[in-house]
């Protein structure tokens, strides 16, 4: 892969130039919440590594949208959300989360909505520094080798820029004068120091590699009951987890007298009590402990016969968010030590 160098003073102008490749999206502050949204002004972009509350999946697997319209004549798909976009500021874990979602949504038969949004969006990654709860070093997702068009590593006065695709290369060519092929020994030293500094900044870690076996062995453990008693079934963990893909469909009639309306798709949560309810009514997972087990099976053990590996990419959002401290850290800790967390 080609790696170039850019003086930091060109950043703003370069990002501005990307508008010719699509509408700019990235992390910006909106009503006191950091969120991925349309970027009017590149100065609004938050590129220092802070995490958005809702992960980047929302741009590819929208929280609520119309999949199709229906009337007496049948169903017509709705692709009005497709537009050329450039997503700026994706962290390594964000990119890994998209690669995981790809395994679900792009496996044959591909989900046309996710696929359309994905194919129309360029990914401009940015390096970040660990937050209080970052766990990506434990999950091996703290660096990326693929899944971006360009990736910027911030070394203060310069950026090292990884060119990950032909489109990324075209973006560079548009502003060729900003980029320098000549990465010096001093630059390399700086990069190594940055890596070491970043590695030392992680405050939390867990035993991700051994978790599949530990989860399997602990399936009948009474420790699950401890967590189940605390869980509020609020579903926050599934909303903030970047690799949660579940959704539900609802037909909504227009306010007319005719058979006309839309088939709407909305994020769903396996933590909700009615998630596995079927006609009968028979609920395959009425107990809270069973729902928690399911979630942590996916995050820490295995995910789908087709999709393979556990889905956690170590963003730490479940640690930030769960009101009663149920998260990959407390779960991993409890099942590794076979003890429930101290109060």
């Amino acid at each position: 892969m080609r790696i170039l160098k850019m003086d930091s003073k060109y950043l703003k102008e370069f990002l501005e130039s990307l508008r010719m490749f699509g509408k700019l999206y990235g992390p910006i502050w909106k009503r006191d919440v950091l969120t991925h949204d349309h970027v009017e002004n590149v100065d609004d972009l938050v590129l220092d590594g802070e995490h958005t509350l809702i992960p980047v999946k929302k741009l590819f697997h929208p929280k609520r949208f119309n999949t199709m319209r229906f009337n007496e004549e049948g169903f017509t798909p709705n692709y009005s959300m497709f537009e050329k976009r450039v997503l700026i500021g994706a962290h390594p874990c964000d990119i890994h989360s998209l690669l995981r979602l790809d395994e679900v949504f792009l496996t044959d038969p591909a989900d046309p909505y996710y696929k359309g949004l994905r194919e129309n969006t360029a990914i401009i990654g940015f390096s970040c520094l660990p937050t209080e709860n970052s766990l990506c070093r434990s999950t091996g997702t703290d660096i990326v080798e693929s899944g971006f068009d360009l990736f910027f590593v911030d070394l203060e006065d310069i950026y090292l820029v990884w060119v990950g695709s032909s489109l990324g290369h075209d973006m560079i060519l548009e502003k060729e004068e900003f980029f320098d092929e000549n990465v010096t020994h001093a630059d390399i030293q700086k990069y190594i120091q940055w890596r070491e500094m970043r590695n030392d900044m992680f405050k939390k870690s867990f035993n991700f590699r051994d978790m599949p076996d530990i989860m399997e062995l602990s399936y009948n453990s009474e420790i699950w009951d401890y967590f189940a008693e605390k869980c509020l079934s609020c579903g926050s963990c599934t909303m903030v987890c970047p690799t949660c893909n579940c959704y539900t469909l609802t037909d909504v009639f227009d306010v007319t007298n005719k058979t006309e309306g839309r088939r709407e798709r909305v994020w769903d949560s396996c933590m909700f009590v009615d998630y596995s309810l079927v006609a009968g009514p028979h609920n395959f997972r009425g107990k809270r402990a069973d729902r928690l087990k399911l979630w942590y099976t996916h995050k820490l053990k295995a995910f789908g016969g087709e999709y393979g590996r556990p889905a956690c990419i170590g963003c730490g959002r479940c640690v930030d968010t769960c009101p009663v401290d149920i998260n990959v850290l407390t779960i991993a800790e409890a099942f590794t030590s076979c003890e429930v967390p101290a109060k």
Binding site: T67, M68, F70, N71, E72, G74, F75, P77, Y79, S80, F82, V104, F105, T107, P109, A110, D111, P112, G116, Y219, N245, C246, Y247, T248, L249, T250, D251, F253, T259, G261, R263, D268, C270, Y275, S276, L277, V278, A279, G280, H282, F284, R285, D290, L294, T297, H298, K301, A302, F303, G304, G305, E306
Partner: protein, 283 residues
């Protein structure tokens, strides 16, 4: 985007016509449907054990097993129980009305592994709907299989589905039909009384390594039926069962049909008993 035409969208339901319908028993109705597009109707093929997603615009979509056999192409058959919004609307439809379907989905039975073997079909209640597909498949390809045993139990005689059809099968010499009801409320029931596992007493001797079993029924039934099959020493990977989970997409995307780490809609709905030993959440 103007390329709408070229985008493959597995979620778009295709129009199909209700060709015929009749009531099986109270609140259970039999439907024959055919794609409106005749070419599609004739080329549409599937495996016994697969299902389709059925839509009525405005009332949603749900999975239903295909009850017909691919050996009789052109028509899809389903047996449907009225339980809620979508099924109630479906029961209001008349012959020639249009509904929407997509599929077929799921893996279906592993027929290749069943060829040359004696086949034991064990159905409880509604479970007979998907098993009717494999039943007729075996009958239509009779020379490819060994002996055929069809065990079917319902709560009472009023709940026996496909009664006329299945009692006619009793006249055939190439299938052994064993039917039972938990309780005989009618006083006119001529077959066995008792739970479906009691029918195993009537099976002749079998060679377990040359036998394959398929099972479908209410969740409580599996445990007891499997015990009987294991007593006969049928290998665990030659016992297939079809499982039901909530489903929304049918193609492995929505997550609803999850069973341990598998998605029932793509990894199932047919699993061998051996498969199920590896996952913790069962039935």
């Amino acid at each position: 985007m103007t390329k709408t035409q070229q985008i493959e969208n597995p979620y778009i339901p295709e129009p199909a016509r209700i060709v015929r319908h009749y009531d099986l028993v109270k609140d259970h109705r039999f439907f024959q449907v055919r794609h409106v597009d005749m070419k599609r109707a004739m080329s549409f093929t599937y495996n016994p054990g697969q299902f389709i997603m059925l839509s009525i615009p405005g009332l949603g979509e749900a999975p239903f097993s295909i009850s017909s056999t691919p050996s009789r192409p052109g028509i899809l058959e389903m047996g449907i129980r009225k339980v809620g919004k979508l099924t109630e609307a479906l029961f209001k439809k008349k012959d020639n009305d249009i509904i929407y379907i997509r599929g077929p989905y799921g893996n279906g039975f592993k027929i290749d592994q069943m060829r040359g073997k004696d086949i034991i079909i064990v159905a409880g209640g509604l479970g007979v709907i998907p098993l009717r597909s494999i039943l007729y498949y075996v009958l239509d390809n009779r020379d490819q299989f060994g002996r055929l045993f069809f065990l079917y139990g319902a709560k009472n005689p009023d709940e026996i589905l496909f009664k006329t059809e299945f009692f006619q099968l009793k006249n055939r010499v190439d299938i052994e039909c064993l039917y039972t009801v938990d309780v005989d409320t009618s006083g006119e029931w001529t077959e066995a009384v008792g739970v479906v596992t009691r029918l195993f007493e009537h099976l002749p001797e079998i060679d377990p390594s040359r036998s394959a079993a398929v099972v479908c029924g209410p969740p409580v039934m599996y445990k007891y039926v499997i015990q009987e099959l294991l007593k006969l020493k049928i290998p665990k990977n030659q016992i297939q069962m079809t499982l039901e989970r909530k489903m929304e997409c049918g193609v492995g995307k929505c997550g609803h049909c999850v069973l341990d780490h598998l998605y029932t809609c793509i990894d199932g709905p047919v699993f061998t008993y051996w498969d199920t030993l590896h996952f913790r959440e069962l039935i």
